[in-house]
């Protein structure tokens, strides 16, 4: 009797939670993505595919392409910054490594919107960077550093960089030192060691990091709002607008389902290639 109570107490909360706050909401948006919207922001409960057909409209297709390109560029830049950075850290001793990795985390303990506001102060037309460059005479006209794709990419790279650095760091630091020495002893130069030893070894971490950078980059509407200046849209802005401005929930839901589909396909590939879900936390 008491054992049964013990079992219930330890398994019932998680069951209720995962059904009520994860499964049900997702099933619900899947269902309403087949509803029709009326002109007052309400929904008509009929079955229609028109929300999905609407996705193929050129206007929306352009936004999808734009989001995917931005997310790919952001992921690529994060890899380019993180790889040499992580290698440089692992060349230090254990104590300094611990300090540097904690330092990477520090800015991310402040709110991401606060950091985006910091970028506004730095990058706007009369911002710190432009004032500095004009003062030094390096440029005659202020550079356009935000309210364009450049601003969005800077903001996203900044926000998502630790998600690339952390898995890469734990992977690179677990490479057995003698493996690298062996490569060196066998006459491999640094470049060869990197491409033949380090890169293959860290491939799972690289994929893990890319996943954790790419998917959020499709949805972070507030970075685009703050640094993109309102003209550029990604999937996240489109969803937000359908729910809060246009109040066309069924269409917003169909875009969300589309975004979920992209995510699940990427995760499917990740798991097929031997990646584990546990490593994604």
């Amino acid at each position: 009797m008491k054992d049964k109570l013990h079992k219930w107490l330890f398994t019932l909360p998680v069951t209720i939670y995962s059904i009520l706050l994860i499964l049900l909401p997702l099933v619900y948006i899947f269902i309403i993505s087949f509803f029709k919207s009326d002109s007052y922001g309400g929904m008509i409960t009929t079955f229609t595919l028109s929300n999905y057909i609407q996705l193929f409209d050129m206007v929306y297709m352009r936004i999808f392409m734009q989001s995917i390109i931005i997310a790919l560029v952001v992921t690529f830049i994060c890899i380019l910054i993180a790889y040499p950075f992580v290698l440089a850290i692992t060349h230090k001793n254990a104590r300094i490594q611990k300090i540097l990795i904690t330092l990477v985390m520090v800015p991310f303990l402040t709110n991401s919107l606060i950091r985006m506001y910091g970028f506004v102060v730095l990058l706007r037309k009369s911002g710190v960077v432009n004032t500095f460059l004009l003062g030094l005479g390096l440029t005659n006209n202020p550079l356009k550093l935000m309210y364009n794709n450049l601003g969005i990419i800077i903001g996203m790279v900044y926000t998502l960089l630790p998600f690339m650095i952390l898995p890469l760091y734990s992977s690179v630091s677990s490479i057995n030192k003698s493996l690298l020495e062996a490569a060196c002893d066998l006459g491999a130069n640094k470049r060869k060691t990197f491409f033949r030893v380090i890169l293959p070894f860290t491939k799972p971490a690289l994929f893990n990091g890319s996943l954790m950078v790419f998917t959020p980059a499709l949805g972070y509407f507030f970075i685009v709002d703050v640094l993109g200046g309102g003209k550029i849209m990604i999937l996240g802005n489109l969803i937000k607008n359908q729910f809060l401005t246009a109040r066309n929930w069924p269409f917003g839901a169909s875009i969300s389902v589309f975004l979920l589909l992209i995510t699940f396909i990427i995760i499917g590939i990740y798991r097929k290639t031997g990646g584990k879900l546990e490593d994604l936390g």
């Binding site: 330890f10 998680v14 060349h91 300090i99 540097l100 506001y117 910091g118 949805g219």
Partner: protein
């Protein structure tokens, strides 16, 4: 293997400048006489004084902290017993639950945010403090479970058996044996939940109501209409608190590294 130390250090310096510049600039301008965040014209503490008179900003800060504390406590309790329960017991649908728990971690936040918004509207739940806290609990629990799980993995099964052999009840074993040995995982899970709650913009944006304005949401609307420098002052105060926390954490863990002689 020889490494190019100079190149290493240049790259490390550049990346750290990139990481800290947007924050450093806000701290510097919190002491700036000029209202415009462009040039440093002189030192002042006026913005700190003004901060204490800005009730909108302070209320948003208090809301943020209330949401973070309550959602952290609840998600840590539920996450801890869930991680233990999922490890110890087999039951129908456990496999599905284990998969579902990864969804909030891997899907874009915006999808979780709008799906919660939809389900609240379906259940006729009015948006406000309650819906906001519930949403924060929803995205925090999986992170707590993952952290506690890794502590469970490293816990010896003999410990529980020994307690049972000595006649301890299951509940007694959990509170006196299991819980203490899971503490490091629970603490890091709670820390993560707290940070995630403080940092959240996207999910709060969809699930907060008019009475539950949080600091990120307040700053978001201010960026559109114009940010006053007392925001810089507030950010500086917050950073000071965070740095103190990190400093304590670092000095404890560095001492441990030294002691263990890694």
């Amino acid at each position: 293997m020889k490494n190019n130390k100079v190149l290493d250090n240049i790259w490390l310096t550049l990346v750290f400048i990139f990481l800290f510049l947007p924050i450093a600039i806000l701290i510097i301008f919190s002491f700036n006489k000029s209202r415009l965040n462009i040039m440093f014209t002189g030192f002042t503490l006026d913005w700190y004084k003004e901060l204490f008179n800005n009730s909108v900003l302070l209320e948003a800060l208090i809301n943020t902290l209330i949401v973070a504390v309550i959602s952290t406590v609840i998600s840590t309790v539920i996450g801890t017993i869930s991680a233990y329960g999922l490890k110890k017991y087999d039951f129908k649908g456990k496999k599905l639950i284990n998969e579902l728990l990864y969804i909030p971690i891997v899907i874009p936040e915006i999808v979780l945010g709008i799906s919660l918004l939809c389900i609240y509207s379906f259940m006729k739940l009015e948006l406000g403090m309650f819906s906001l806290i519930l949403s924060h609990i929803a995205f925090s629990i999986p992170f707590v479970i993952i952290n506690v799980n890794s502590a469970i993995e490293s816990m010896s099964a003999n410990l529980e058996e020994a307690a049972a052999d000595l006649g301890a009840s299951k509940f007694k074993t959990f509170f006196h044996v299991v819980l203490p040995s899971l503490m490091p995982g629970i603490v890091s899970g709670a820390g993560l939940a707290f940070t995630l709650s403080l940092d959240d913009v996207v999910i709060s944006y969809f699930t907060a109501g008019p009475d539950s304005n949080t600091l990120p949401l307040q700053i978001f609307s201010m960026i559109k209409s114009g940010v006053t420098p007392d925001v810089n002052a507030l950010i500086t105060v917050l950073l000071l608190m965070i740095f103190t926390g990190i400093f304590i954490y670092m000095s404890i863990s560095l001492r441990r590294i030294k002691r263990e002689g890694v």
